[in-house]
Symmetry: C2
Subunit: 400 residues, 2 copies
Amino acid sequence: MSAFDFEVAEYENRFEAAQRLMRRDRLDAILITSEDHFRYFTGFNSPTWVNLTRPRYAVLPCQGEMILVIPTSNAEIAARTSWVRDVRTWISPQPADDGISLLRDAIRNVPSGYGRVGAELGPESRLTMPVGDFLRLGREVSTIELVDAYPLLRELLMRKSAAEVAKIQAIGQIASSAYEALPGRLRAGMSIREACTAFRHELLQGGAETSPYVIGVAERHGYPCINLDPSNKKISEGDVLVIDTGSTRHGYFCDYNREYSFGPLHEKLRRIYDIVWNATEVGIRATEPGRTMGDIWQQMSNSMQEASEAIGLPFEPFELGRMGHGLGLRMCETPSIAPGVETVVEPGMVLTIEPSMAYQIDVDGETRRYVSVHEENIAVTENGVSLLNRRAPREMPTIA
Amino acid sequence: MSAFDFEVAEYENRFEAAQRLMRRDRLDAILITSEDHFRYFTGFNSPTWVNLTRPRYAVLPCQGEMILVIPTSNAEIAARTSWVRDVRTWISPQPADDGISLLRDAIRNVPSGYGRVGAELGPESRLTMPVGDFLRLGREVSTIELVDAYPLLRELLMRKSAAEVAKIQAIGQIASSAYEALPGRLRAGMSIREACTAFRHELLQGGAETSPYVIGVAERHGYPCINLDPSNKKISEGDVLVIDTGSTRHGYFCDYNREYSFGPLHEKLRRIYDIVWNATEVGIRATEPGRTMGDIWQQMSNSMQEASEAIGLPFEPFELGRMGHGLGLRMCETPSIAPGVETVVEPGMVLTIEPSMAYQIDVDGETRRYVSVHEENIAVTENGVSLLNRRAPREMPTIA
């Protein structure tokens, strides 16, 4: 049984598409160092990325075969999970030369036409090697200019194959089952940590492989922020709990949240839920091939503004800077659904639709600021979109 | 209830120690970008690091107060988890200037005596920001030289406080309970993935917060490599399963493995287990204040070589490049227990003792290469060491 995530043909297609773009952008090669890009192009899959001691490199020339430069102790991983056969190794750690001379030679020997090699340097990139070694590499391949490969990678990874979409859908469905099981497992008096641990057990049981992102916040009548590590604070009757997860299967992420009300929901919060649920609906419907990300953002924003004003609520944006983003081997990928972003919706894109707003509420005589964020994961098809997870319930679930 | 991992005094001590080293090393400030260093100095704790879209920065001046430069949507996280009060924010994402001008101004306004600012550039470092932005920052603060802060950070983080050691011990004990529960949950016919999922449930139930590293390999009479993502291959009678985990609580890692024999253990493998178990014992005893990492490596290596030769087995090293490493907010930290490493054992160090060897075995008429790796987590005290997890059993546990 192959341990590959995809058929070899899928990897070949990705590499060929990258090579076409390299020739268009006048790059002799691309240097890949980060876990998600490595897995995308080479298949290489291992939890060993947590260990920062031993770096690994893939060189994608614009013509010819791909090259892996990896620690000897990773060779068997490559043999089992990667389709790439040109594998060059050194015994790491070796801080004085941790693969850099091997990498330099691989880059120098790429047929050089343009004198330019791309690397992961631009926005949202993380060069996953010591930067001191990268600067040294730049000096050692002095006739070759190291330039930003981000625009090319972004363009390529943004368009998912049907096989990729299926994997995102698989983890999306697993997370839906975990969220739907929670009302049977939650009760007032549990800590936020315990609630999130119960959720993690459900995710695991359903087939999620990793859950690097599980946040939980619960306060009286709402949550003032997201992104908090679950605390040991007890959940009380009257609290609203938000849980969000980025979980994976075969490396691909889902990314969406759900809210739960402990006891009857405060009327104002019921209306906010309605406003943001409807804005999500607007965002999903607005996502059509040809529209821009800026358009989708504007429609969601307008929807919340109008609905807020209709009930006499001043509309206040939450400072997330966007209302959705790409999704794939990373939890957050390009593009951003944000004001003025001109990126056009295309079939194959996988996006989160994530409207949000802030609001004030009087709790025990004190005015507090809360936020409301809804999120769903969709894939763009030729005709419109398909939802990859099960839609949030029309009313916020209540924990009796 | 504070959500801080430690008393504020602990963070103040860390910062003061860093400031002393900065003045010694003639640095005006250190720029911190990576999750573990951020948590160490500022307390900032959030799963949001999985999202690479929004970077965050901490500036540690050699005199005066620490500064956070973080996205507006992270301000509430900082208010709840960080002791730092000078927090500067911008609404991110903003790819054209994602915090860089704020960061530049913070760095420019640090009282400048040396004209040098340290960054995470050296071996084992990961600059957790777009490198394009780092290069731009370097141009914009042109009178200030950006240099490597790795030697300073390494020196500081290598020496743990008693409170840190207690946290590593807590997760070490949790993992011990999870490993010890496995014989009751494993059976031939399960897949490696199912065995590792059972292990993950045990870790969660015991109080582990994250388990970013869980590997599993099982083959007939041994395992030919480590670091493999658990596959769907069924475990058969006669297989040996190895599981290894890096799991965390309050951000601190344990890192050690255990082996399980499905049915009676092959006699040669019983002897290998004995040799590597004893080498671990030698490594633990060799870890005394004043010894070098190279010494500890040599003693473990000699122990395995002598014991192998005593039973007529040619000793063959496994190409991991070391036999242990530092442990803390990262799964693998400096120092390496490796040939020639002159770093001296000091009280406060937390280390993994991790001897390994390779061997050949005839299986079904075919000669195969296997490896054996044992691992334990220890803290160095004034007098010797203390074991932070429960020691591997004297004989490999058998799954009936």
